[in-house]
Protein backbone atom coordinates (compact mmCIF):
# COMPACT_ATOMS: atom_id res chain seq x y z
CA UNK A 1 0.00 0.00 0.00
CA UNK A 2 2.73 2.38 0.96
CA UNK A 3 4.98 1.92 -2.08
CA UNK A 4 2.43 2.80 -4.80
CA UNK A 5 1.47 5.97 -2.93
CA UNK A 6 5.13 6.96 -2.63
CA UNK A 7 5.64 6.32 -6.34
CA UNK A 8 2.59 8.41 -7.20
CA UNK A 9 3.96 11.23 -5.06
CA UNK A 10 7.34 11.06 -6.76
CA UNK A 11 5.60 11.06 -10.12
CA UNK A 12 3.68 14.20 -9.21
CA UNK A 13 6.88 15.93 -8.15
CA UNK A 14 8.57 14.92 -11.39
CA UNK A 15 5.69 16.24 -13.47
CA UNK A 16 5.70 19.50 -11.53
CA UNK A 17 9.44 19.86 -12.04
CA UNK A 18 9.08 19.22 -15.77
CA UNK A 19 6.35 21.80 -15.94
CA UNK A 20 8.54 24.36 -14.19
CA UNK A 21 11.52 23.83 -16.45
CA UNK A 22 9.28 23.98 -19.48
CA UNK A 23 8.01 27.37 -18.37
CA UNK A 24 11.54 28.49 -17.72
CA UNK A 25 12.85 27.68 -21.17
CA UNK A 26 9.84 29.28 -22.78
CA UNK A 27 10.15 32.62 -21.01
CA UNK A 28 12.28 35.39 -22.48
CA UNK A 29 15.86 35.08 -21.26
CA UNK A 30 18.55 37.59 -20.46
CA UNK A 31 20.08 38.49 -23.83
CA UNK A 32 17.29 40.88 -24.84
CA UNK A 33 17.48 43.00 -21.70
CA UNK A 34 21.23 42.79 -21.29
CA UNK A 35 21.93 43.71 -24.90
CA UNK A 36 19.90 46.89 -24.60
CA UNK A 37 21.89 47.85 -21.54
CA UNK A 38 25.23 47.06 -23.12
CA UNK A 39 24.60 49.33 -26.06
CA UNK A 40 24.41 52.44 -23.91
CA UNK A 41 27.62 51.77 -22.05
CA UNK A 42 29.58 50.15 -24.85
CA UNK A 43 29.25 53.27 -26.96
CA UNK A 44 31.17 55.15 -24.27
CA UNK A 45 34.30 53.02 -24.24
CA UNK A 46 35.87 50.09 -25.99
CA UNK A 47 37.57 47.15 -24.38
CA UNK A 48 41.30 47.68 -24.83
CA UNK A 49 43.07 44.90 -26.64
CA UNK A 50 46.71 45.82 -26.26
CA UNK A 51 47.28 46.45 -22.56
CA UNK A 52 50.72 46.49 -21.05
CA UNK A 53 51.00 47.23 -17.37
CA UNK A 54 54.39 46.41 -15.96
CA UNK A 55 55.11 46.04 -12.28
CA UNK A 56 51.47 45.65 -11.27
CA UNK A 57 51.01 42.48 -9.22
CA UNK A 58 47.25 43.02 -9.22
CA UNK A 59 47.13 43.16 -13.02
CA UNK A 60 49.30 40.04 -13.25
CA UNK A 61 46.83 38.29 -10.97
CA UNK A 62 43.93 39.36 -13.21
CA UNK A 63 45.66 38.08 -16.35
CA UNK A 64 46.50 34.79 -14.68
CA UNK A 65 42.89 34.37 -13.63
CA UNK A 66 41.59 35.53 -16.99
CA UNK A 67 39.20 37.95 -15.37
CA UNK A 68 38.79 40.67 -12.83
CA UNK A 69 37.06 40.55 -9.45
CA UNK A 70 35.52 43.87 -8.47
CA UNK A 71 34.17 44.81 -5.08
CA UNK A 72 30.96 46.87 -5.24
CA UNK A 73 27.87 47.71 -3.22
CA UNK A 74 24.45 46.34 -4.03
CA UNK A 75 22.02 48.54 -2.13
CA UNK A 76 22.72 52.13 -3.12
CA UNK A 77 20.32 53.53 -5.69
CA UNK A 78 22.08 55.44 -8.46
CA UNK A 79 25.54 54.33 -7.33
CA UNK A 80 25.62 50.57 -7.00
CA UNK A 81 22.51 48.40 -7.08
CA UNK A 82 21.90 44.77 -7.87
CA UNK A 83 18.55 43.82 -9.33
CA UNK A 84 17.30 41.10 -6.98
CA UNK A 85 15.52 39.28 -9.81
CA UNK A 86 17.92 39.45 -12.75
CA UNK A 87 21.18 39.91 -10.82
CA UNK A 88 21.95 42.84 -13.13
CA UNK A 89 24.26 45.44 -11.58
CA UNK A 90 23.95 49.12 -12.40
CA UNK A 91 24.85 52.54 -11.08
CA UNK A 92 27.55 55.16 -11.30
CA UNK A 93 30.12 53.26 -9.23
CA UNK A 94 29.45 49.99 -11.04
CA UNK A 95 29.93 51.67 -14.43
CA UNK A 96 33.20 53.23 -13.26
CA UNK A 97 34.30 49.71 -12.31
CA UNK A 98 33.28 48.43 -15.77
CA UNK A 99 35.13 51.30 -17.43
CA UNK A 100 38.32 50.47 -15.52
CA UNK A 101 37.98 46.78 -16.38
CA UNK A 102 37.57 47.65 -20.08
CA UNK A 103 40.68 49.82 -19.95
CA UNK A 104 42.56 46.79 -18.64
CA UNK A 105 41.33 44.62 -21.48
CA UNK A 106 38.50 42.75 -19.78
CA UNK A 107 34.99 42.71 -21.19
CA UNK A 108 31.74 42.37 -19.25
CA UNK A 109 31.87 38.55 -19.27
CA UNK A 110 35.23 38.58 -17.51
CA UNK A 111 34.09 40.75 -14.61
CA UNK A 112 33.05 39.05 -11.38
CA UNK A 113 31.23 41.33 -8.96
CA UNK A 114 31.44 40.83 -5.24
CA UNK A 115 29.19 42.70 -2.86
CA UNK A 116 31.32 43.86 0.06
CA UNK A 117 29.73 45.87 2.89
CA UNK A 118 31.48 49.02 4.07
CA UNK A 119 33.00 47.54 7.21
CA UNK A 120 34.78 44.73 5.32
CA UNK A 121 36.32 46.70 2.47
CA UNK A 122 39.91 47.08 3.65
CA UNK A 123 40.05 43.45 4.74
CA UNK A 124 38.79 42.23 1.35
CA UNK A 125 41.48 44.25 -0.45
CA UNK A 126 44.24 43.25 1.96
CA UNK A 127 43.28 39.58 1.70
CA UNK A 128 43.25 39.78 -2.09
CA UNK A 129 39.60 38.68 -2.35
CA UNK A 130 39.02 41.48 -4.85
CA UNK A 131 41.27 43.29 -7.34
CA UNK A 132 39.81 46.73 -6.75
CA UNK A 133 36.81 48.29 -5.03
CA UNK A 134 34.46 50.94 -6.39
CA UNK A 135 31.62 51.80 -4.05
CA UNK A 136 31.26 55.14 -2.21
CA UNK A 137 34.73 54.57 -0.79
CA UNK A 138 35.97 57.78 0.86
CA UNK A 139 39.70 58.45 0.70
CA UNK A 140 40.98 58.83 4.27
CA UNK A 141 44.43 58.81 5.81
CA UNK A 142 43.61 55.96 8.18
CA UNK A 143 42.48 53.75 5.30
CA UNK A 144 45.60 54.68 3.33
CA UNK A 145 47.63 52.86 5.98
CA UNK A 146 46.17 49.57 4.77
CA UNK A 147 45.36 50.17 1.10
CA UNK A 148 45.93 52.63 -1.77
CA UNK A 149 43.39 54.79 -3.55
CA UNK A 150 43.16 55.85 -7.18
CA UNK A 151 41.10 58.93 -7.88
CA UNK A 152 39.13 60.66 -6.46
CA UNK A 153 36.52 60.18 -9.15
CA UNK A 154 33.70 61.91 -7.29
CA UNK A 155 33.35 64.41 -4.48
CA UNK A 156 30.33 64.63 -2.23
CA UNK A 157 29.69 65.46 1.42
CA UNK A 158 27.71 64.31 4.42
CA UNK A 159 24.10 65.40 4.18
CA UNK A 160 20.74 64.88 5.88
CA UNK A 161 17.69 63.12 4.51
CA UNK A 162 14.33 64.04 6.06
CA UNK A 163 10.65 63.48 5.34
CA UNK A 164 9.41 65.71 2.51
CA UNK A 165 7.01 67.56 4.83
CA UNK A 166 9.56 68.23 7.58
CA UNK A 167 10.78 71.84 7.62
CA UNK A 168 12.28 71.79 11.11
CA UNK A 169 15.70 70.51 9.99
CA UNK A 170 17.87 72.51 7.63
CA UNK A 171 21.34 71.49 8.76
CA UNK A 172 23.33 69.48 11.28
CA UNK A 173 22.86 72.17 13.94
CA UNK A 174 19.09 71.65 14.02
CA UNK A 175 19.31 68.11 15.32
CA UNK A 176 18.82 68.77 19.04
CA UNK A 177 16.04 66.50 20.27
CA UNK A 178 15.86 64.69 16.94
CA UNK A 179 16.53 61.02 16.21
CA UNK A 180 19.16 60.48 13.53
CA UNK A 181 19.68 57.16 11.76
CA UNK A 182 22.68 55.74 9.94
CA UNK A 183 24.59 52.51 9.43
CA UNK A 184 26.26 50.89 12.48
CA UNK A 185 29.62 52.49 13.18
CA UNK A 186 29.77 54.38 9.89
CA UNK A 187 31.93 57.51 9.68
CA UNK A 188 28.93 59.85 9.19
CA UNK A 189 27.33 58.37 12.32
CA UNK A 190 30.51 58.76 14.37
CA UNK A 191 30.91 62.33 13.11
CA UNK A 192 27.36 63.32 13.98
CA UNK A 193 27.72 61.76 17.46
CA UNK A 194 31.06 63.41 18.16
CA UNK A 195 30.81 66.82 16.52
CA UNK A 196 27.13 67.71 16.54
CA UNK A 197 24.50 67.20 19.19
CA UNK A 198 21.67 65.04 17.93
CA UNK A 199 18.99 64.00 20.41
CA UNK A 200 19.54 60.30 19.79
CA UNK A 201 21.13 58.10 17.17
CA UNK A 202 19.80 54.87 15.73
CA UNK A 203 22.07 52.36 13.99
CA UNK A 204 20.92 49.80 11.46
CA UNK A 205 22.65 47.35 9.18
CA UNK A 206 21.54 49.07 5.98
CA UNK A 207 20.35 52.48 4.84
CA UNK A 208 17.16 51.00 3.45
CA UNK A 209 16.14 50.04 7.01
CA UNK A 210 16.74 53.66 8.04
CA UNK A 211 14.64 54.89 5.11
CA UNK A 212 11.81 52.59 6.20
CA UNK A 213 11.97 53.96 9.75
CA UNK A 214 12.09 57.54 8.47
CA UNK A 215 8.95 57.04 6.40
CA UNK A 216 7.15 55.58 9.42
CA UNK A 217 8.25 58.46 11.63
CA UNK A 218 10.38 56.47 14.07
CA UNK A 219 13.43 58.54 13.20
CA UNK A 220 13.61 62.19 12.09
CA UNK A 221 16.61 62.16 9.78
CA UNK A 222 19.12 59.92 8.05
CA UNK A 223 22.69 61.00 7.64
CA UNK A 224 25.37 59.83 5.23
CA UNK A 225 26.99 61.02 2.00
CA UNK A 226 24.65 63.18 -0.05
CA UNK A 227 25.24 61.10 -3.18
CA UNK A 228 23.80 58.05 -1.39
CA UNK A 229 20.86 60.01 0.02
CA UNK A 230 20.07 61.49 -3.40
CA UNK A 231 19.52 57.99 -4.75
CA UNK A 232 16.73 57.42 -2.24
CA UNK A 233 15.16 60.81 -3.03
CA UNK A 234 15.15 59.87 -6.71
CA UNK A 235 13.22 56.70 -5.84
CA UNK A 236 10.60 58.46 -3.73
CA UNK A 237 10.67 62.21 -4.39
CA UNK A 238 7.22 62.76 -2.86
CA UNK A 239 8.17 61.20 0.50
CA UNK A 240 11.80 62.24 1.05
CA UNK A 241 14.01 65.28 0.58
CA UNK A 242 17.57 66.38 1.33
CA UNK A 243 17.83 69.07 4.02
CA UNK A 244 20.45 71.79 3.79
CA UNK A 245 23.93 71.70 2.37
CA UNK A 246 26.64 69.04 2.75
CA UNK A 247 28.76 69.61 5.87
CA UNK A 248 31.84 67.55 5.11
CA UNK A 249 33.92 66.59 2.11
CA UNK A 250 34.00 62.96 1.03
CA UNK A 251 36.28 62.12 -1.87
CA UNK A 252 35.37 58.80 -3.46
CA UNK A 253 38.32 56.77 -4.69
CA UNK A 254 38.99 53.35 -6.14
CA UNK A 255 40.38 51.05 -3.46
CA UNK A 256 43.52 49.17 -4.54
CA UNK A 257 46.00 46.84 -2.88
CA UNK A 258 48.69 48.83 -1.14
CA UNK A 259 51.82 49.51 -3.14
CA UNK A 260 50.38 48.88 -6.59
CA UNK A 261 51.48 52.24 -8.01
CA UNK A 262 51.35 51.07 -11.63
CA UNK A 263 47.65 50.22 -11.45
CA UNK A 264 46.94 53.41 -9.50
CA UNK A 265 48.66 55.56 -12.15
CA UNK A 266 46.83 53.69 -14.89
CA UNK A 267 43.42 54.36 -13.33
CA UNK A 268 44.26 58.00 -12.60
CA UNK A 269 45.34 58.51 -16.22
CA UNK A 270 42.12 56.85 -17.37
CA UNK A 271 39.98 59.11 -15.17
CA UNK A 272 41.86 62.28 -16.12
CA UNK A 273 41.69 61.48 -19.81
CA UNK A 274 38.07 60.37 -19.81
CA UNK A 275 36.08 63.50 -19.08
CA UNK A 276 33.43 62.66 -21.68
CA UNK A 277 32.82 59.20 -20.27
CA UNK A 278 32.61 60.62 -16.75
CA UNK A 279 30.11 63.27 -17.78
CA UNK A 280 27.98 60.74 -19.64
CA UNK A 281 27.92 58.40 -16.64
CA UNK A 282 27.11 61.25 -14.28
CA UNK A 283 24.26 62.45 -16.51
CA UNK A 284 22.88 58.92 -16.69
CA UNK A 285 23.03 57.93 -13.03
CA UNK A 286 23.37 60.89 -10.68
CA UNK A 287 22.03 64.01 -12.41
CA UNK A 288 18.43 62.64 -12.33
CA UNK A 289 18.73 62.38 -8.54
CA UNK A 290 19.17 66.14 -8.42
CA UNK A 291 22.79 66.60 -7.37
CA UNK A 292 25.38 68.71 -9.12
CA UNK A 293 28.90 67.60 -9.65
CA UNK A 294 31.98 68.11 -11.72
CA UNK A 295 34.76 65.66 -12.25
CA UNK A 296 37.51 66.18 -9.68
CA UNK A 297 41.22 66.14 -10.48
CA UNK A 298 42.87 62.93 -9.33
CA UNK A 299 45.57 62.97 -6.66
CA UNK A 300 49.16 62.17 -7.40
Amino acid sequence: MRTPRLLAGLGLVAVAALGLTACNSGSPTDPGGAAGDDETTEALWEVETDVSLDDSPTYERMVERGGVVVGVKNDQPGLGVEDAVTGERSGFDVDIARWIAASLGFDEDQITYQTIPSANREQAIVNGDIDYYVGTYSITDSRKQQIDFAGPYFITGQGLLVAADDDSISGPDDLAGKVVCSVTGSTPLQRIRDEYAPGDTVENDTYSQCVEQLKQGQVDAITTDEAILAGYVALEPEALKIAGEPFSEERYGVGLPKGDTALKDHINALLDGGGDVWTALFEEHLAPAGIDGTQPETDD
Binding site: A119, Q146, V179, V183, T184, V202, N204, G217, Q218
Partner: protein
Protein backbone atom coordinates in the same frame (compact mmCIF):
# COMPACT_ATOMS: atom_id res chain seq x y z
CA UNK B 1 47.35 47.48 22.38
CA UNK B 2 46.81 50.66 20.33
CA UNK B 3 43.59 49.14 19.07
CA UNK B 4 42.24 49.44 22.61
CA UNK B 5 44.00 52.44 24.09
CA UNK B 6 43.31 54.70 21.08
CA UNK B 7 39.62 53.84 21.06
CA UNK B 8 38.74 53.56 24.74
CA UNK B 9 35.45 55.45 24.20
CA UNK B 10 34.06 52.81 21.84
CA UNK B 11 35.34 49.85 23.87
CA UNK B 12 33.87 51.24 27.07
CA UNK B 13 30.50 51.98 25.49
CA UNK B 14 30.50 48.56 23.86
CA UNK B 15 31.34 46.72 27.07
CA UNK B 16 28.72 48.68 28.98
CA UNK B 17 26.12 47.93 26.30
CA UNK B 18 26.89 44.21 26.44
CA UNK B 19 26.69 44.12 30.24
CA UNK B 20 23.39 46.02 30.32
CA UNK B 21 21.89 43.74 27.67
CA UNK B 22 23.13 40.68 29.57
CA UNK B 23 21.87 41.86 32.96
CA UNK B 24 18.51 43.07 31.63
CA UNK B 25 17.98 40.06 29.40
CA UNK B 26 19.10 37.73 32.20
CA UNK B 27 16.63 39.12 34.74
CA UNK B 28 13.72 38.97 32.27
CA UNK B 29 14.73 35.45 31.20
CA UNK B 30 15.15 34.06 34.73
CA UNK B 31 11.90 35.50 36.08
CA UNK B 32 9.80 34.71 33.02
CA UNK B 33 11.53 31.36 32.51
CA UNK B 34 10.87 30.23 36.09
CA UNK B 35 7.21 31.20 35.83
CA UNK B 36 6.80 29.43 32.50
CA UNK B 37 8.71 26.38 33.77
CA UNK B 38 6.31 26.18 36.71
CA UNK B 39 3.35 26.67 34.38
CA UNK B 40 4.45 23.68 32.30
CA UNK B 41 4.22 21.33 35.31
CA UNK B 42 1.21 22.96 36.96
CA UNK B 43 -2.03 21.05 37.46
CA UNK B 44 -4.01 23.71 35.53
CA UNK B 45 -4.43 22.55 31.89
CA UNK B 46 -4.71 26.13 30.52
CA UNK B 47 -1.43 27.13 32.16
CA UNK B 48 0.26 24.04 30.74
CA UNK B 49 -1.11 24.79 27.26
CA UNK B 50 -0.01 28.45 27.33
CA UNK B 51 3.45 27.51 28.59
CA UNK B 52 3.89 24.82 25.96
CA UNK B 53 2.69 27.11 23.15
CA UNK B 54 5.05 29.89 24.23
CA UNK B 55 8.09 27.62 24.54
CA UNK B 56 7.44 25.81 21.29
CA UNK B 57 6.87 28.94 19.19
CA UNK B 58 9.55 31.28 20.56
CA UNK B 59 12.20 28.62 21.02
CA UNK B 60 11.73 27.54 17.41
CA UNK B 61 12.19 31.08 16.07
CA UNK B 62 15.70 32.28 15.19
CA UNK B 63 16.88 35.03 17.53
CA UNK B 64 17.43 37.41 14.62
CA UNK B 65 13.77 37.11 13.68
CA UNK B 66 12.70 37.79 17.27
CA UNK B 67 14.88 40.90 17.10
CA UNK B 68 13.35 41.90 13.78
CA UNK B 69 9.89 41.66 15.30
CA UNK B 70 10.87 43.83 18.24
CA UNK B 71 13.03 46.34 16.36
CA UNK B 72 11.11 46.80 13.11
CA UNK B 73 7.57 45.48 13.56
CA UNK B 74 6.65 46.59 17.08
CA UNK B 75 7.57 50.32 16.94
CA UNK B 76 5.29 51.13 13.96
CA UNK B 77 2.46 49.14 15.55
CA UNK B 78 2.77 51.04 18.82
CA UNK B 79 3.70 54.33 17.13
CA UNK B 80 6.95 54.41 19.09
CA UNK B 81 9.68 56.90 18.31
CA UNK B 82 13.19 55.49 18.68
CA UNK B 83 14.45 57.92 21.33
CA UNK B 84 17.19 56.90 23.74
CA UNK B 85 16.03 53.99 25.88
CA UNK B 86 13.52 52.53 23.41
CA UNK B 87 15.93 50.46 21.24
CA UNK B 88 17.68 49.19 24.38
CA UNK B 89 14.40 48.21 26.06
CA UNK B 90 13.24 46.46 22.88
CA UNK B 91 16.54 44.56 22.68
CA UNK B 92 16.36 43.51 26.34
CA UNK B 93 12.79 42.28 25.79
CA UNK B 94 13.80 40.34 22.67
CA UNK B 95 16.76 38.71 24.42
CA UNK B 96 14.80 38.03 27.61
CA UNK B 97 11.75 36.56 25.92
CA UNK B 98 13.90 34.37 23.67
CA UNK B 99 16.18 33.10 26.46
CA UNK B 100 13.24 32.56 28.84
CA UNK B 101 12.16 29.56 26.76
CA UNK B 102 15.51 27.87 27.36
CA UNK B 103 15.42 28.78 31.05
CA UNK B 104 11.90 27.35 31.29
CA UNK B 105 12.92 24.03 29.79
CA UNK B 106 16.04 23.84 31.95
CA UNK B 107 14.01 24.50 35.10
CA UNK B 108 11.36 21.99 34.05
CA UNK B 109 14.04 19.35 33.70
CA UNK B 110 15.27 20.33 37.17
CA UNK B 111 11.76 19.99 38.56
CA UNK B 112 11.58 16.51 37.05
CA UNK B 113 14.69 15.48 38.97
CA UNK B 114 12.90 16.10 42.27
CA UNK B 115 11.29 12.78 43.28
CA UNK B 116 7.50 12.81 43.01
CA UNK B 117 7.33 11.71 46.65
CA UNK B 118 8.59 15.14 47.71
CA UNK B 119 5.69 16.96 46.05
CA UNK B 120 3.20 14.33 47.22
CA UNK B 121 4.41 14.58 50.80
CA UNK B 122 4.20 18.37 50.64
CA UNK B 123 0.67 18.17 49.21
CA UNK B 124 -0.25 15.64 51.92
CA UNK B 125 0.62 18.07 54.69
CA UNK B 126 -1.72 20.61 53.08
CA UNK B 127 0.55 22.93 51.10
CA UNK B 128 -0.92 24.62 48.00
CA UNK B 129 0.65 24.23 44.53
CA UNK B 130 2.42 27.57 44.96
CA UNK B 131 3.84 26.54 48.32
CA UNK B 132 4.87 23.12 47.04
CA UNK B 133 6.78 24.84 44.26
CA UNK B 134 8.46 27.67 46.17
CA UNK B 135 9.18 25.83 49.42
CA UNK B 136 9.88 22.26 48.39
CA UNK B 137 10.42 21.65 44.69
CA UNK B 138 12.14 24.79 43.34
CA UNK B 139 14.94 24.96 45.95
CA UNK B 140 15.90 21.40 45.07
CA UNK B 141 15.35 21.91 41.34
CA UNK B 142 17.53 25.04 41.11
CA UNK B 143 20.37 23.24 42.81
CA UNK B 144 20.48 20.54 40.15
CA UNK B 145 20.16 22.87 37.15
CA UNK B 146 23.03 25.25 37.92
CA UNK B 147 25.37 23.87 35.23
CA UNK B 148 22.82 23.84 32.36
CA UNK B 149 21.34 27.15 33.53
CA UNK B 150 24.78 28.72 33.45
CA UNK B 151 25.22 27.42 29.90
CA UNK B 152 21.98 29.16 28.94
CA UNK B 153 23.26 32.39 30.51
CA UNK B 154 26.59 32.09 28.69
CA UNK B 155 24.67 31.63 25.44
CA UNK B 156 22.67 34.74 26.35
CA UNK B 157 25.87 36.70 26.92
CA UNK B 158 27.11 35.83 23.46
CA UNK B 159 23.69 36.38 21.89
CA UNK B 160 23.82 40.03 22.99
CA UNK B 161 26.02 40.71 19.94
CA UNK B 162 22.97 40.20 17.71
CA UNK B 163 21.67 43.50 19.07
CA UNK B 164 24.52 45.26 17.24
CA UNK B 165 22.49 45.12 14.05
CA UNK B 166 19.49 46.61 15.81
CA UNK B 167 20.75 49.91 17.06
CA UNK B 168 22.18 48.94 20.44
CA UNK B 169 25.88 49.67 20.76
CA UNK B 170 27.66 46.67 22.28
CA UNK B 171 30.84 44.64 21.81
CA UNK B 172 29.39 43.29 18.57
CA UNK B 173 29.36 46.79 17.04
CA UNK B 174 32.96 47.59 18.00
CA UNK B 175 34.30 45.98 14.83
CA UNK B 176 32.23 48.24 12.55
CA UNK B 177 33.22 51.36 14.50
CA UNK B 178 36.94 50.62 14.55
CA UNK B 179 37.05 49.48 10.95
CA UNK B 180 35.83 52.96 9.99
CA UNK B 181 38.60 54.40 12.14
CA UNK B 182 41.16 52.47 10.12
CA UNK B 183 41.97 49.65 12.53
CA UNK B 184 42.67 46.12 11.35
CA UNK B 185 39.40 44.24 11.76
CA UNK B 186 40.90 40.85 12.52
CA UNK B 187 42.85 42.31 15.44
CA UNK B 188 39.68 44.00 16.70
CA UNK B 189 37.72 40.74 16.47
CA UNK B 190 40.45 38.89 18.36
CA UNK B 191 40.26 41.44 21.17
CA UNK B 192 36.46 41.17 21.24
CA UNK B 193 36.91 37.41 21.58
CA UNK B 194 39.35 37.93 24.45
CA UNK B 195 36.84 40.13 26.28
CA UNK B 196 34.12 37.52 25.82
CA UNK B 197 36.37 34.73 27.08
CA UNK B 198 37.11 36.81 30.17
CA UNK B 199 33.40 37.45 30.78
CA UNK B 200 32.55 33.77 30.31
CA UNK B 201 35.32 32.78 32.72
CA UNK B 202 33.67 35.04 35.30
CA UNK B 203 30.38 33.24 34.77
CA UNK B 204 32.08 29.84 35.06
CA UNK B 205 33.62 30.93 38.33
CA UNK B 206 30.18 32.02 39.56
CA UNK B 207 28.81 28.62 38.55
CA UNK B 208 31.51 26.79 40.49
CA UNK B 209 31.03 28.79 43.65
CA UNK B 210 27.24 28.39 43.50
CA UNK B 211 27.61 24.64 43.00
CA UNK B 212 29.88 24.42 46.03
CA UNK B 213 27.65 26.49 48.22
CA UNK B 214 24.50 24.57 47.39
CA UNK B 215 26.08 21.17 47.25
CA UNK B 216 24.12 18.37 48.85
CA UNK B 217 25.94 15.87 51.01
CA UNK B 218 25.35 12.54 49.35
Amino acid sequence: MGVISDNLDVWWEGLLGTLILFAGGGVVALVLGTVVGAMRVSPVPVARAVGTLYVNTVRNTPLTLVFFAFAFALPPLLGLKLTAPVPLVLAVCALGIYTATYVAETIRSGINTVPVGQAEAARAVGLTFGQVMTLVVMPQAFRSVIPPLMSVLIALLKNTTVAAGFSVLNLGSVRAYLSERGENQLVVILWVAVVFVALVLLLSWLQRSLEQRWRVAR
